[in-house]
Symmetry: C2
Subunit: 343 residues, 2 copies
DNA sequence: TGTTAGCACTCCAAAGTAACGAGTGCTAAC
DNA sequence: GTTAGCACTCGTTACTTTGGAGTGCTAACA
């Protein structure tokens, strides 16, 4: 069967109505649509066709129709273009909080949740390609030194390093100099075996300290295993009856509380690193990698702040999500994040 | 009316049964209790008395009895003594993660939630009385320097400081020396106006840098306004039918997602600072300061890690909470936290 | 050939009804 | 003081009824 113009108009009408109401839509409702001038009987025939084609389905014999996953998918694919929603408020947040990444991200998800009525999430930017700006070792006490690591993008990390024997201040000064001259401006990937062995050699009897520092650097800069994820609006699930029965809601909210499982929704795609921004990924129903979200849709978008800092931001809601709006907001938001640090 | 031994036994029996089942308890159920050897009719008479005294109440005429807030209160007050629950597992967590406060706290709440089936929360330790160990300024670039602040308790904080004009390395070295000699070993309270003005004087033309550093120190060490709060197990509310209707659950979980409102449950009492540890606060029903929790009970306990680091840890659950167990676990937990850093 | 009006049919949701039973208070007897 | 017995209350559960929204099909119409 062929999907002609009229079928598409009807399908759009069904989906739009269902997005608003959450109730199955009947032929009479559609027949009242302004762009359509057909009787309910004709609509019924077309609906019957659309059902056969797999785009809509009936919960039971004498009910209206609801969109199937395939229906949503078609709708989303055809709608994905254009859309430049304005999200001005967020810009203010950013300017205000530029120096505290964590706060910024928390505010972003909160803002998103408040504006969409869905649950939202964002990953802290990974620092993979980031270059080191400097490393500072300081003596804390006899058995510990503190390593402060600053990246090109001004992200600061600390690690305490325990030692068998204390180091005197001169040695620490020397090590500082050594580390900074050797590692300055390198990315994590560029610190390879030869750099390391050369460093250790130069460090002489303190090579164990050097290797501990390097471990700390590696761990601080690119902790693959626990990317920070911030979430907000998990209780928005209660706003959609189809998700708010105790069991489903409980599972969903748990997932948002745990945070780690969400990582599988936010995997960076290859394109992200290419600087191709705002590229949007939509999972509908069964398509999502998480079992708990088989009744949800997930929309994520990548952001790239430059200097190797990139991550993803996403929204989880019912399948009858307002895809249009969500895609628009995400596109705009990521664009603003992109510009924030680039200038 | 007098609360005699028999009434107390019956009240205990009612509360215990209700804690388990969550259903109103009838006289026949109680009459089967082993320590009691009375017919249901007698129990009914006693129950009638207990109701008159305000310790139990009837949801409707022909239902069993449930404990009132006053009943729980009596029960809790009489039960509060003894109890040394063993919580060995937690000790392992602690040893493993000693150097990362944030991770430790997250693990503690997670552990608590898993072991009690209630929602749990913990405040990061406040650093009020903490002494400074050292301050390290480093040049980041022309317009920024980084201040690293380390306290006696090895808590590390960073702050970026923006400058009008860059500083050369010698000046930074000099400032470092100045700051450390003047501030070393002082608590926040001890850095008073005279210290500050003396410092500024010695800093000469760089007094603006000094005051910015001091601001950073003050802000980093004692941010009263946003104490960190970690939570876990918010979805445990679903396990108790009396809390899991959509509206209540939604409000409760939101509160746990927001985190800030919880601060009012975790206010440090005067005793906490005195080093009197594990002192336990129980709010029952209407007693809680948060409106959303009028149907809940809240139990919190203080911990004191020494060196001016103290905070609170707490549990939120239904009024029919297993107070015995909760108090036991909290006592044990706080004791372990206390010992952790003190040695 | 495509569109529409009409009609019988389906089936969910809401409202009403009935039966059940757990629990009570009261009374009278032990 | 304790207990057995009994009438009564009232929420819970299951079953029945009813209304209406929506469908598919057929026949008539343009």
């Amino acid at each position: 069967m062929q999907m002609d113009e009229r079928k598409w108009t009807i399908l759009k009408a069904i989906i739009k109505t269902y997005l608003e109401t959450g109730e199955p839509v009947g032929s009479r409702t559609i027949s009242k649509f302004p762009d359509l001038n057909l009787s309910s009987a004709t609509i019924r025939n077309e609906m019957s066709d659309l059902e056969e084609m797999g785009y809509i389905l009936q919960p039971h014999t004498s009910a209206g129709r609801i969109p199937s996953d395939a229906g949503y998918r078609l709708y989303v694919d055809r709608m994905m273009e254009e859309k430049e929603q304005e999200v001005t408020e967020i810009r203010d947040l950013m300017v205000q909080r530029q120096d505290r990444m964590e706060l910024l991200l928390k505010q972003v998800v909160k803002f998103l949740a408040a504006n969409t009525n869905y649950a939202t999430m964002i990953t802290g930017p990974r620092l993979h390609q980031t270059r080191l700006k400097f490393i500072q070792l300081s003596v804390v006490d006899d058995s510990q030194i503190l390593a402060v690591i600053v990246t090109e993008t001004n992200v600061v990390k600390n690690r305490m390093i325990r030692l068998e024997h204390g180091l005197d201040r001169d040695t620490v000064l020397r090590l500082n100099l050594l580390l900074n001259t050797s590692l300055n401006g390198l990315t994590i990937e560029q610190i390879n075996l030869s750099t390391i062995s050369k460093l250790k050699e130069e460090a002489g009897i303190h090579s164990d300290v050097v290797s501990q520092v390097l471990d700390a650097v590696a761990e601080a800069i690119s902790r693959e295993e626990d990317v920070e994820i911030y979430t907000s609006g998990a209780t928005n699930f209660f706003k959609y009856p189809e998700l708010s029965d105790t069991e489903k809601a409980s599972e969903l909210i748990s997932t948002f509380e745990e945070k780690h499982p969400l990582a599988s929704l936010m995997l960076p795609s290859e394109k992200d690193a290419d600087g191709e921004n705002g590229n949007i990924q939509v999972y509908i129903g069964q398509e999502t990698p998480l079992d708990t979200m088989k009744d949800c849709s997930v929309v994520t978008a990548s952001y790239d702040m430059g200097g190797g800092m990139y991550g993803r931001v996403g929204i989880v809601g019912p399948k009858r999500m307002d895809y249009d709006k969500v895609v628009g907001i995400l596109k705009n938001l990521t664009q603003q994040l992109d510009e924030l640090y680039k200038k």
